[in-house]
């Protein structure tokens, strides 16, 4: 029995997206595909304990889901007095040849992450259709009511249908922009889990980071040549690797220089480093996720914070600034500059960002740290106060308050 239930969870992890994708493609309808996939898994739960696990679980589930979908459409066409079945038999071949990469799961991912959908809808739909999370699970992870989440997903599916968002991989010329749209969704899922993890919000939120990594691994399998996909996966792995050391025993946030590096997950670090090296070896100019991954690789290569190669970090930030001139990236660059050229040089750079970042807690926190290092305690205290005011994260406020209260008066 133990084996069967394990086989079912494994099949759910590995086959859900494929079943939904294949059915969506055949029937041109996400709703039908989602419901049929759910029914197929419910049937497996009923039947596998008695009949045994089929030799090819994926094929069994797809066939079962296909039958369920046909049943549903028969029922509906009887009710509507319409005959959609003829359409069904012939309707699916037009979409088969389109797109640069012929993979149903990729089509599903691109459809769920379509730019015509609102960002929160893309996130929810991707977790439901590709990740196989239930509506209740997604609602819990994003701290919204289940009915609200249900409506969000239903509305997104209805728009896909009514506006005819195509079930296909974008044309080669649109691919880079659309891939970065998919990666933005995956990164948002990851951050949603990561930024709140360990804050008493329970294991469901922590699962979001694991789910984001799993989905990014899938996209990597489907698009092995894409450097940014590899970059995002590496960035997630290297960030996740540090998670065990991120929250201190007292429950507040430990910054990278305070973390116990023995607690980092060495397997994840090694895998992240491997991906970064692989991208470097291609000699292709890196995009922003690859550069961010490389920065994280430099940090995780140092066994002690004092061994960090700061000139390398600053050089990578210089590269990133050229791709993305956002003030937040300039702020992160300035933080690295403090380690290379000292707090005075860094503070000058940070102060230059005042107009753009006055409402951003990390700007004030950075100023506070730099002012403290320069011995300007009063100004530092005021900057900590502003940062604490603007912070929305409990562990972060705790860490800022602790640092503020350690200032010499």
């Amino acid at each position: 029995m133990r084996d069967v239930s394990e086989a079912i969870s494994q099949a759910h992890r590995e086959e859900w997206a494929t079943v939904v994708a294949v059915l969506s493609s055949r029937f041109g309808d996400l709703d039908v595909a989602e419901e049929a996939a759910s029914e197929a898994f419910a049937t497996a739960v009923e039947r596998w304990p008695a009949d045994g696990v089929p030799p090819k679980p994926g094929a069994w589930l797809t066939t079962t889901a296909h039958r369920k979908a046909i049943d549903r459409i028969r029922r509906e066409s009887k009710r509507d007095g319409k005959h959609k079945e003829a359409q069904l038999a012939s309707g699916d071949d037009s979409s088969e040849s389109l797109g640069a990469i012929d993979d149903e799961r990729l089509r599903l991912i691109f459809t769920c992450c379509h730019p015509a959908l609102a960002m929160d809808a893309r996130v929810s739909l991707t977790l439901r259709m590709v990740g196989g999370l239930t509506v209740a699970e997604i609602a819990r992870a994003f701290l919204v009511q289940e009915t609200t989440m249900g409506r969000r997903i239903t509305r997104a599916k209805a728009k896909i249908k009514a506006a005819r968002i195509p079930f296909r991989v974008p044309a080669a010329e649109d691919l880079p922009a659309r891939v970065s749209g998919v990666l933005a969704v995956l990164f948002l899922i990851f951050n949603e889990g990561y930024l709140t993890s360990g804050l008493g919000t329970g294991p469901v939120r922590d699962d979001l980071t694991a789910e984001a990594i799993r989905l990014t691994r899938l996209v990597r399998v489907l698009m092995p040549q894409d450097g940014e996909v590899a970059g995002l996966l590496a960035l997630m792995l290297l960030t996740e690797a540090r998670r065990p050391a991120r929250i201190s025993a007292s429950g507040d946030l430990a910054t990278i220089d305070e973390q116990d590096r023995q607690a980092w997950d060495s397997a994840l670090v090694a895998e992240g480093h491997r991906l970064v090296r692989e991208r470097l070896a291609t000699g292709v100019a890196p995009g922003r996720y690859q550069i961010l991954a490389a920065i994280n690789a430099v940090h995780t290569s140092a066994h002690d914070v004092r061994d960090t190669d700061w000139s390398q970090v600053v050089a990578l930030y210089d590269q990133l600034v050229r791709l993305d001139a956002s003030p937040i990236i300039a702020l992160n660059r300035a933080i690295a500059v403090a380690e290379l050229d000292g707090p005075e040089v860094s503070l000058a750079a940070v102060d230059g960002l005042a107009d753009a970042l006055a409402g951003y807690h990390a700007y004030h926190a950075t100023r506070a740290h730099l002012l403290r290092r320069l011995g300007r305690s009063q100004e530092s205290y005021a900057a900590y106060d502003k940062a604490i005011d603007l912070s929305s994260n409990a562990a972060e406020s705790a860490s800022l308050t602790r640092r503020r209260d350690q200032l010499p008066s």
Binding site: A116, A162, R164, I165, P166, P170, D174
Partner: protein, 112 residues
């Protein structure tokens, strides 16, 4: 499938300048040549609108647009496109040609 592309403007009675009009002509030609064209036109200022309600015993005429808003529809295209990706591409070009924001909305599918 047909899509309505509405041109959104903020200042009533600001027709396209000659450069915009020329760019719109080029875009319209392309729509015709590639088989996307159904219909298009500019609209007079919302102040020229009249609302009619003839659901009751007799028709009631009211001066002015049915919705007062800062933004209004200054013109529209109706295009034929196989799916939203194609419609969005055309709408993006339409937005560039008329130098205004546009909204794409699917017409109800006749086949459904």
């Amino acid at each position: 499938m047909q899509y309505l592309i509405s041109v959104i403007d903020v200042q009533p009675g600001s027709p396209g300048n000659p450069t915009e009009m020329a760019a719109i002509d080029v875009f319209n030609e392309r729509l015709r040549a590639e088989g996307h064209w159904v219909f298009a036109n500019g609209l007079a200022s919302p102040s020229a609108a009249t609302v009619i309600d003839n659901r009751g015993a007799e028709a009631v005429f009211t001066d002015g647009p049915f919705l007062e808003s800062k933004e209004y529809v200054a013109g529209f295209w109706i295009i034929e496109a196989p799916d939203l990706d194609v419609a969005l591409k055309l709408a993006a070009e339409g937005s560039k040609s008329c130098n205004r924001k546009v909204e794409v909305r699917p017409c109800l599918d006749q086949e459904a």
